[in-house]
């Protein structure tokens, strides 16, 4: 297993956002997480990527514990240095892209490989250019993020995450900030990555995409996993009433 999250609990103040959630992701799996807003799906990703601190539960990558819950029921994280080592296992693509605006597209892709992973400029540039080519953006290497459309920026953000050669890539509603006509180009890139068996977890509202691309669909509501399984089963033959109710909204 690349990622294993067990019994994750997370509250914001009195509001319990994640209620004892467990999920694992195998190598090559593409998992889509769907559900109404406020269901906790983005929070789950943010906990997996250590942007939020969990209250209880265990998180491990590649079989190594990053967080475990001690006998007192308190979540204990490894040291900040070790946590940085865990960050090399994953990449995250944000809803709002979060490119570095003061860096050119190429610099956005090579800065972390050079200064975090210690790659040489040549090595980092070769990989970055290959990734930009794959994204259909090799001509824009010297442009700055503000000169690109939202769809192009998001593809750069995906390339930036891939430049770190992660084991698993998380997407937090990657198309939600995009105009409808630009979502296609981003989904196409994710689909191509799925065909290459890149391990991915995608929080999305794009139901047809989730159905077509993922190996497994997880439906979350009110901080719990209500139902999960094969996309055909979950979408065409949902077992839980809450799932049916949610999917009906998309049929209309």
């Amino acid at each position: 297993m690349i990622l294993e999250m067990n019994n994750i609990r997370k509250s914001f103040g009195a509001h319990e956002v994640l209620k004892d959630i467990s999920i694992g992701v195998d190598r090559g799996e593409v998992v889509s997480i769907i559900g109404p807003s406020g269901s906790g799906k983005s929070t789950l990703l943010r906990c997996a990527t250590f942007l939020e601190t969990i209250d209880g539960g265990d998180i491990s990558y590649m079989g190594e514990h990053a967080v475990h819950t001690d006998d007192a029921g308190k979540a204990v994280y490894v040291s900040p240095q070790k946590l940085r080592h865990f960050r090399s296992y994953y990449g995250l693509v944000f809803q709002q892209f979060n490119l570095f605006p003061h860096y050119s597209i190429l610099k956005n892709l090579i800065d972390a490989p050079m200064h975090v992973q210690g790659k040489s400029k040549e090595e980092a540039t070769d990989l970055a250019m290959a990734l930009l080519y794959k994204m259909g953006l090799s001509e824009r290497a010297d442009a700055y993020p503000y000169q690109l459309s939202g769809g192009q920026q998001q593809r750069v953000a995906i390339a930036r995450a891939l430049a770190m050669s992660p084991e698993i890539l998380f997407f937090d509603e990657p198309t939600s900030a995009l105009d409808p006509e630009l979502t296609g180009e981003v989904l196409k890139v994710i689909r191509e990555l799925a065909e290459e068996h890149m391990t991915m977890v995608v929080v999305t509202h794009e139901m047809p995409f989730a159905k077509a691309v993922s190996n497994r669909v997880v439906f979350m509501a009110d901080g719990v996993i209500v139902e999960q399984g094969d996309p055909q089963d979950v979408f065409d033959n949902p077992q839980e009433e809450r799932t049916k109710q949610f999917l009906r909204v998309f049929e209309r």
Binding site: T49, F50, L51, R84, R87, S88, Y90, G91, L92, F94, Q96, N98, L99, F100, P101, H102, D111, A112, H115, V116, Q117, Y144, P145, Y146, R160, M164
Partner: protein
Amino acid sequence: MTLSTMLSTMAIGMLRTFGVFSLTLIGSLPLGMVVALLKKSRFAVVRGFISAYISIIRGTPLMLQLLVWYFGPFYLFGMNIGGWRFPAVILGFVLNYAAYFAEIYRGGIESMPVGQYEAAEVLGYTHTQTFMRIILPQVIKRIMPSITNEVITLVKDTSLAFTLAYQEVFSLAKQISASQTSFMPFVIAGVFYFVANYAVEFAMSRIEKALDYYK
């Protein structure tokens, strides 16, 4: 006294004014950043000390602060303050401007979207790398207009050094005007300050243009 002797006498004052101006910037621009970062320290004592420092500096006249730095060592500790005039001027200006720059830096740092920190964190940058490579360069661009404002104020504030009888251009203008019963020295000083600030505006707008390569 002819206009040219007036000008050459005042030229020394202009050099001294320029000295106060540049030493203040050299000292206070970096010190302001240290102060801004200490204000976010995890130690409450440090934060409290920095807040008090900024409040006192902003809440009292610079003229008074200069007098305290100059005469304080004598009145408080009975120290000999011969030769202390120029250091006191610079100390007073640097500590005063550092407080203002610190608040500008803090405003700039706090205006940064949290997504920039999160993107850097997920990519594995250390805190120092995140600040130096991602945050600071963008903060500098954001705060340039406020910095320009402050630098222009500094050009004019240097005249407060006359409080400690430091013979910069304004002190000299007053002296020469009194001794020669002439209005001319004030005109010369006025033109000097205006031209100096015109140069500051020009230089700063060039810097802002240079930072305009991204949005």
